[in-house]
């Protein structure tokens, strides 16, 4: 399950903007397949983002968050080159995490 998380980050005047895009089916458990059988639930329940040892975002998600969840948020006190760690766990116990540096130049 490696590399399920894509992170884009930038810093402007000490405020970091983090965009996370995660590849995940996010099945609610309420959908049925073509034969009418319920597709078992599989969705991310917890998502956390850490910066310098502090948890800046601790999210609890339900199955009603879109397939391949996208989350954007901001926090202050960051600078270029800082490391950010993003991790998630789903209801089946699968998990993934990634560590990225905030790039010095904004990506295009």
């Amino acid at each position: 399950m490696a590399n399920s998380i894509q992170v884009r980050s930038s810093v402007k005047k000490g405020v970091a903007t983090i965009k996370c895009l995660i590849s995940h089916p996010m099945e609610t458990g309420m959908r049925k397949d073509k034969k009418g059988n319920l597709i078992p639930a599989k969705f991310i329940q917890n998502l956390a983002c850490e910066h310098a040892g502090n948890v800046v975002l601790d999210a609890e998600l339900n199955g009603s968050v879109s397939t391949n969840p996208y989350i954007k948020f901001k926090f202050s006190g960051a600078k270029n080159g800082d490391t950010i760690k993003v991790s998630w766990v789903d209801n089946k116990g699968d998990k993934d995490s990634v560590e990225v540096e905030i790039p010095t130049k904004r990506r295009k």
Partner: protein, 156 residues
């Protein structure tokens, strides 16, 4: 004699590496990821969800929360919602969809340096009010917006 010394050195190094990994938080994901509030997320209505998540349904309408959502969403499978709170000491943001089978869609606990700003994509089964609940300075505030959905994103 020299051989034994090698072994001792190796085992000491391995042990210290493990200790470092634990202290750096690499091996303790449970400490970071808090438990999932099953009652709140499985709740079938907004009030039950709010009571389990925040212990109260007493929310004050506030114009300091901006909820950006489309008036009409063509595809309910992915509706972009932005919540922007300028309230002091915003601690947590929750997004609820009134007419979804399970209204509570996502709860975000914010760190001390995190701004009251979240964008995310959600699923909507049918047209509904989208409610943003913000906990700031120990109080609950909310704002809502109607979103019309052309094609539902839930159910088969």
């Amino acid at each position: 004699m020299d051989h034994k010394r090698r072994i001792l050195l190796k085992s000491t190094l391995a042990a210290s590496a493990t200790t470092m990994a634990i202290s750096a938080g690499l091996l303790t994901p449970k400490a970071v990821l808090a438990a999932w509030n099953t009652t709140a997320f499985n709740a079938k209505d907004v009030d039950t969800a709010l009571t389990s998540a925040y212990g109260s349904t007493d929310t004050t309408d506030s114009d300091k929360i901006k909820l950006k959502a489309p008036d009409v969403a063509e595809n309910g499978a992915s509706v972009t919602i932005t919540v922007d709170s300028t309230l002091d000491k915003t601690e947590a943001i929750s997004i609820l969809v009134k007419n979804n089978a399970q209204p509570l869609t996502a709860s975000f606990k914010l760190g001390a340096n995190t701004e009251g700003f979240i964008t995310t994509n959600i699923k909507m089964g049918k047209s509904s009010d989208v409610i943003a609940v913000v906990k700031a300075n120990g109080k609950l505030y909310s704002t809502k917006q109607q979103v019309k959905v052309t094609i539902g994103g839930c159910g088969g």
